[in-house]
């Protein structure tokens, strides 16, 4: 009998990612709920703070990232619930697929979902809060990508853990929120600078912080994830 050759890591990631995105596309009801949840959060901020458009415009970066963070908890929680309903995680483990590929594909899938969500929220934010993107769309997009990746790497590891534990809906935010604070701070500051202009040239250092955060947590997730899902 011929030995099963392990499929290369990147190819596995591609296949798994395509599978996750397909599931996401076919269960659009969940996606829609997520979008409206994030929109409602943005709307709620303007009610909680009051209709002072100056305050809203000044804090728009922070509100955007809080809305994304709250939505991410729902999205991350779902991403492993799908795998458990039909015991597909066991199937994936039995297949000659590297567990690290599961981490990469899940984390990339979650990041893509959040980036898409963020892109949808921007026009709403512009309309609701009266902000303008003064630094250009490219800088905004870089912030969005780096910030969403920073949420999704530790979020994927923790959601794999929390989805098996008791009180999983409490556990995931409890684990994730304190950890994510540096990334949230950097992303919110960078977004504010992108929206309001950057006279002191600080944007680069916030990007650096986000990049470093991503490097650490994608690396840790890549190394530690196989131990999380082993049985």
């Amino acid at each position: 009998m011929k030995r099963v050759r392990p499929i290369s890591l990147l190819k596995t990631v591609g296949v798994l990612l395509a599978k996750d995105l397909l599931i996401e596309w076919r269960t659009r009801a969940r996606l829609n709920a997520l979008v409206f949840f994030a929109l409602a959060t943005l709307l709620l901020f303007s009610f909680a703070v009051g209709p002072d458009s100056k305050v809203l415009a000044r804090n728009a970066g922070g509100y955007l990232w809080l809305a994304l963070l709250f939505a991410s908890v729902l999205a991350l929680g779902e991403s492993f619930r799908v795998e458990q309903e039909n015991l597909t995680l066991d199937g994936l483990r039995l297949a000659p697929a590297d567990a690290r590929a599961i981490f990469l594909s899940k984390a990339m899938g979650n990041a893509l979902l959040l980036i898409a969500l963020g892109a949808l929220l921007i026009p709403v934010m512009v309309a609701l809060y009266g902000v303008q993107v003064s630094m250009g769309v490219g800088a905004f997009f870089t912030t969005l990508v780096l910030g969403c990746m920073a949420i999704s790497a530790p979020g994927t590891v923790y959601s794999a853990i929390a989805s098996n534990a008791r009180a999983r809906d409490v556990l995931l935010p409890l684990l994730l929120f304190p950890l994510i604070i540096p990334a949230l701070l950097a992303a919110a500051k960078a977004t504010s600078l992108v929206l309001q202009g950057d006279p002191m040239n600080q944007l680069g250092s916030w990007f650096g912080l986000l990049f470093g955060f991503n490097l650490i947590y994608w690396g840790l997730g890549f190394v530690l994830f196989p131990r999380v899902i082993e049985d």
């Binding site: 923790y158 008791r166 556990l171 131990r227 999380v228």
Partner: protein, 229 residues
């Protein structure tokens, strides 16, 4: 050992409160240094130990490693919170406020919350083996914050002064600081050992009698049981 610890603590308290002269600028208020600084050192020590044990567990599984990791996480959290509260009490007369969003304070508070989550995870997972693996992973991820806390006073020169060590304080204060630090180290060791024994006993009970532990599963109803039978 308990007696020796109490004795050393008494000596340290005497030295700190009576023997050492008061500070030229802060007066008696500065004396909190003899408990606040050792408490933070011990918190750092316990959390470094926790990190080492988490890594060790992933390489070689053992109930002892896991039990000591649980003990060090909890004791580190305890000392860290104690140090933070002491610092806040000191902050009111010196800085004029209990809390300031200074990088050192903020980073420390964030780190403590991550370890609260670490301890919560240990309560929420019933399978002892899974709990050990997952909490090791979470412990390693949480540890990333500790170097940030440690170097925060050097990176961002802000309200919180640079760490006090026997090298930076006045020579008159060195002895008191050292004695109190050793006393804290002995308290830390006592707490660790005691908590470790409790954790190990819990593991043994869990492994020996898995069905005796409370679960979330609803108890079988009598009528349904008769139906099945």
């Amino acid at each position: 050992m308990t007696a020796a610890t109490l004795l050393l603590l008494a000596v340290g308290t005497y030295l700190g409160l009576v023997w050492t002269p008061e500070d030229r600028e802060m007066g008696h208020v500065y004396r909190i240094i003899y408990v606040h600084v050792p408490a933070m050192w011990m918190a750092m020590l316990a959390l470094v130990l926790n990190f080492g044990l988490c890594v060790a567990y992933l390489f070689k599984s053992s109930w002892k490693t896991d039990a000591l990791a649980e003990a060090s996480g909890e004791v580190g959290l305890l000392f860290g919170s104690y140090g933070l509260v002491l610092g806040a009490i000191w902050g009111k007369p010196t800085w004029g406020t209990y809390w300031d969003w200074d990088p050192r304070l903020t980073a420390m508070a964030i780190m403590l919350v991550t370890y609260v989550a670490y301890m919560a995870l240990r309560r929420f997972v019933e399978d002892p083996e899974k709990r050990a693996v997952w909490s090791s992973v979470v412990g390693i991820i949480s540890f990333v914050n500790l170097p940030i806390v440690w170097f925060s006073v050097k990176w961002w020169r802000s309200l919180h002064q640079v760490q006090s060590t026997p090298k930076t304080v006045d020579p008159d204060m060195v002895l008191s600081l050292r004695v109190n630090a050793w006393a804290s180290l002995m308290i830390l060791t006592l707490f660790l050992l005691h908590r470790y024994r409790v954790a190990l006993a819990t593991r043994e009970a869990e492994v020996a009698l898995p069905e005796a532990l409370p679960t979330d599963a609803p108890a079988p109803r009598n009528d349904r049981a008769s139906e099945v039978a």
